[in-house]
Point group: C2
Chain length 189, copies 2
């Protein structure tokens, strides 16, 4: 593990005012040293997954894979649309199925809408199927829906910012404790 | 109902050799008169859903909505990726959430991989949440995975072509029997 601890954050909503995006930006500001949270900026540029394109990978998909390969852990926050995952987060994951550096990657899954469980359940089922290592102690429900908090409000809320710091710390501690279980990312097998 | 009975088919895979795409193309050839099955050609051109873009709809999303509004019924065939729906089919549905002509639209859901139930279950949950009218008698499992049949092979297989014809006939009959329950598409409320 490098001195810096890199977390790649994937947001399942492309909406400018998305609470999931605000949550991840707040996490980037609140991350305890030596952790660095980078919110992946290319989600909206990913083409729709096509297995035929895996031969010559589109640049946006390559950028996602490179970012995943270089991260010590992933952090996902995604909305529920019509009792399902968002097409945006599933499309990103579809590009990562069978991508070896994803296997055993530690993943924290944050749910900003605790009353919505369909998408959270489906996302976890998919992540498990992809052999990610979901870190439950780092995967809280953070009740933001209806709280009308933006990024600043989240950072300024003692309750929520403490929950974010605690989850990030748990993610860090879990991986420091079990480095062989989760890494290295390259090479596998 | 018009004399012609228009079914819009949505495929959740963009792969050229997709069995789901082959199944839908075969359905278009096998459709009993007066039914016409059109496979929607714009799935891969849909941008990733962004609620902010609903104000000025991207042309590909508008084309999807127009096709849905003009259809008497929908027919969906989609693969399972990592125990979940494909990002491609969910992205298309995300553009149709809260689109009024989708409400009470009769939908047949075909599953070409009967051993895969996660995506089928999740798709049905989302369709129900979107107030579609899933027509169970028109929604068979059609065991194509591993059968190594393309479009021609499907059409030439008595067992499978009969299953397709029966499902399409059931879709037609259900809507003819209950036209008020399912239509008209425009206007609602």
């Amino acid at each position: 593990m490098t001195a810096r601890f890199h977390v790649l954050a994937l947001c399942g909503s492309l909406r400018a005012a998305s609470i999931n995006a605000a949550l991840l930006r707040a996490a980037a500001r609140l991350a305890p040293s030596p952790m660095v949270v980078d919110v992946f900026s290319g989600m909206g540029r990913l083409p729709l997954f096509n297995p035929d394109d895996e031969v010559e990978l589109p640049s946006a998909a390559q950028a996602l894979r490179d970012a995943v390969a270089g991260a010590d852990a992933l952090l996902i926050a995604s909305p529920e649309y019509a009792h399902g995952v968002s097409g945006t987060i599933k499309n990103a994951l579809d590009w990562l199925v069978s991508f070896e550096p994803f296997v055993r990657k530690p993943v924290a899954v944050w749910n900003a809408s605790p009353r919505a469980h369909h998408a959270d359940d489906a996302l976890r089922e998919t992540l498990k199927t992809m052999s990610a290592a979901i870190i439950d102690t780092a995967s809280p429900s953070i009740p933001l829906l209806g709280a009308h908090l933006g990024e600043d409000g989240i950072v300024e809320s003692p309750t929520i910012s403490n929950a974010i710091r605690a989850a990030l710390q748990a993610l860090h501690d879990e991986i420091v404790r079990e480095p062989r279980q989760h890494g290295p990312s390259f090479p596998l097998n």
